[in-house]
């Protein structure tokens, strides 16, 4: 690989932004800088294109992998760089292109003062290639090989032949803060990823019921938060014990109300934790009708205890669609380790599918120390360090 290899970065939706475009761009630049801080390379931020330069060839895959985890980047291409001299461009094109098959040259000239326009470059370079590689032929519609030529400012011309799709979305940190309810299952990490993709900074909250759930279950939530950290820099994880709350519900209320009542507790706790931590919304992984607690009636009853917005990015998704994303972001294998979570302990045989607010409130009225239980749970909250120590 030549020293002239560079990685071109294209950003997605940002170009739709108007006067506040700079704010988004600066955040994206910052996120890219942080992501590549441990890698010896140079970053160049031009108009509409960012370029990673001067890195050693063996780090190329690592850099691309890291860039694919940065929201706001639409795609990247590994390109070869040369100067404006047409002879130099031709030499590089000859080196890169195959010797036979069909091809097309696709030039883009953002440096408008370049003496040839895009069409002229396409034609001239095509001609040269045909002349030097007689087994090549042109196919403008469905060629085997497309050589992209990107003429930029500052004397740079980039040639590349493939483009890798990246995460897309908006730069992380540009859409306020949200509190993710991270259970340890397949759905909640995906829900966090989806909102982070829209630029939201994520703080995660995990509920456990030790000793009814194991240390391993809590550790799983930590592992998941670590994987999410690839996409959500500086994600924080807080753990709340629901043990006393679940024991109380178990003693005082009807068994089939367990899940509904626990979830109302969770939402109340979540809202308080969110407010205390500067989060403006709650995010969860509910998908309509997936389980008893995710019917419209159940969601209505659990949603009724909070006033801040609750985002459910997976609400209309099928399980297999969610799994596809979980596999892509790398959380799936950890999520399927089957440790009990706090929703599966004290599980009634027939949970309520269609609870009503009136009856749920009646059951709740049997818990006299409701507010105390919440205060105590929040008091004993544990902030877990996500960063890996060796």
């Amino acid at each position: 690989m030549s020293d002239n290899n560079v990685i071109l970065i294209r950003f997605g939706e940002l170009y739709l932004k108007g006067k506040n475009k700079n704010y988004f761009e600066n955040m994206l630049k910052d996120n890219i800088r942080k992501k590549l801080k441990d890698i010896d390379c140079k970053l160049y931020f031009g108009r509409g294109r960012y370029v990673v330069k001067e890195y050693s060839a063996e780090l190329e895959t690592v850099i691309i992998e890291k860039l694919q985890q940065v929201f706001g980047i639409h795609s990247v291409s590994v390109a070869r760089r040369c100067g404006y001299d047409f002879g130099e461009i031709t030499a590089l094109a000859v080196e890169m292109s195959p010797n036979n098959g069909t091809f097309r040259v696709s030039a883009h000239r953002s440096y408008k003062k370049y003496p040839m326009d895009s069409m002229q470059i396409n034609r001239a370079l095509g001609e040269k290639l045909l002349e030097l590689k007689p087994k090549l032929s042109v196919d403008l519609h469905a060629p085997d090989y497309i050589l992209h030529v990107d003429v930029r400012e500052d004397g740079d011309v980039y040639l590349y032949d493939s483009t890798l799709r990246c995460a897309g979305g908006m730069p992380y940190g540009t859409s306020s803060n949200g509190l993710l309810l991270l259970s340890g299952g397949i759905d909640s990490p995906v829900a966090g990823y989806m909102l982070a993709k829209r630029g939201m900074s994520i703080t995660a909250l995990h509920f456990h019921s030790y000793p009814y759930t194991s240390e391993a279950a809590k550790d799983k939530a930590i592992q998941l938060a670590r994987i999410l950290e690839n996409y959500c820099p500086n994600i924080r994880l807080m753990c709340v014990s629901l043990t006393e709350i679940q024991e109380t519900i178990h003693k005082k209320c009807k068994p089939n109300y367990m899940i509904t009542l626990v979830r109302r507790f969770m939402m109340r706790i979540a809202e308080r934790v969110a407010r205390n931590n500067g989060c403006g919304c709650i995010i969860n992984g509910e998908s309509l009708g997936q389980v008893a607690s995710q019917t419209l009636e159940s969601i209505t009853v659990t949603n009724a205890v909070v006033s801040m917005p609750v985002f459910r990015p997976l609400i209309g998704m099928d399980k297999d669609e969610i799994i596809t994303i979980a596999e892509k972001i790398g959380t799936f294998k950890t999520s399927i380790e089957p440790y009990e979570d706090c929703c599966t302990v004290f599980l009634p045989e027939f949970p309520l599918i269609k609870p009503t607010l009136e009856k749920v409130e009646e059951q709740e009225s049997f818990i006299k120390n409701y507010a105390d239980l919440i205060d105590k749970a929040i008091e004993n909250i544990e902030t877990v360090s996500i960063s890996q120590t060796v």
């Binding site: 000793p211 009814y212 194991s214 240390e215 391993a216 178990h250 003693k251 089957p338 302990v345």
Partner: protein, 374 residues
Amino acid sequence: MIYLDNAATTRVFDSAVIAAEKAMRDEFYNPNTTYKSGVKVRDSIENSRKYIAEKIGAYSDELVFTSCATESNNWVFNCGIKNKKGNIVISAGEHSSVYESAMQLKSRGCDIRIAPLDKNGGIDETRIYDLVDDNTALLSVIHVSNETGVINPIKRIAENIRKLSPKTLIHSDGVQGFIKTGDSLHNLGIDYYSASAHKIGAPKGIGLLYIKRGLGIAPYICGGGQERGLRSGTQNTPYIAAFAAAVEQFDKLADGNRMHNLRNDICDYFVSNGCKIIGDTNNSGYIICVCIPNAKAEIVQNLAHDSGVIVGKGAACSGSKRGNRVLSAIGLSDKEIECCVRISLFADTERDDAMNAVKIILDSANKIRSNHVG
């Protein structure tokens, strides 16, 4: 902390640590070199091998060091079967490294036959003899169940199989039986035997496969031709030294009668408190599987841990999988399996500690019951 999960792993004996340290610091040379210091290390390996072989009634050239018993079991199933078109018989009580290896062969079209367990957790002997025929290439029966501690009559089974089908090779996974049962491998009359060192006070990462003299087996791991060409890769000299030291120490400490008496007392105590012992016949003194009604083992485990007692629930290897294949095969219901705690002792487990731990385990269970969850 009272540690009663010794079937999962054991604390490394001081003597094993010292042996490993000496091999790391002083005798760190590559045993496969020809200079004097290297040759000396090779001699140490051979001394360790010889010592272990003598203790288990085998010839030293019958033992090959591996990384663990899982490797040994995989090796037998992948390379140790002569009659490639024959069927394979295993018991339903096998450890997952045997079971999964067999299932892998099944997916390639091999006829795998599984002999059921009786209600005490032992292999149903008569069914084995029904399943084995002239075309049986391999029979694999676990020596001591890692779930229940039941000892299978390997010697008798081997004798009968030899009469039924002389060409059938016999393997036994001896992880929980190695050294502990006091059996001589030659006396057992089998062809392959797998063992793991970390169950007897050596570090994790070293095990062995016994291969009966005269039996050719292809290597599973190829390369530099170490271990007489049978297991390539530079030998784990520190852990081999620790393995031999652990065998020596274990042998010194082990008192079969004491363990059996202790086990019986623990069982009696549980039974008098309404619990059910799983596999209560011909049992290793080291493992007790007890079903504590209406108390989920996982919660018992957590509460007991907080009170200073570590116990197991089912095999740690399968800890992240729901259910328990072996306990199901004995005929236990899912509800009973959820309530099965595995207590495993070690040669140095003090009687008072064990009895105190049992009380703490029952207290934990009672605490759960008083909350009506389990």
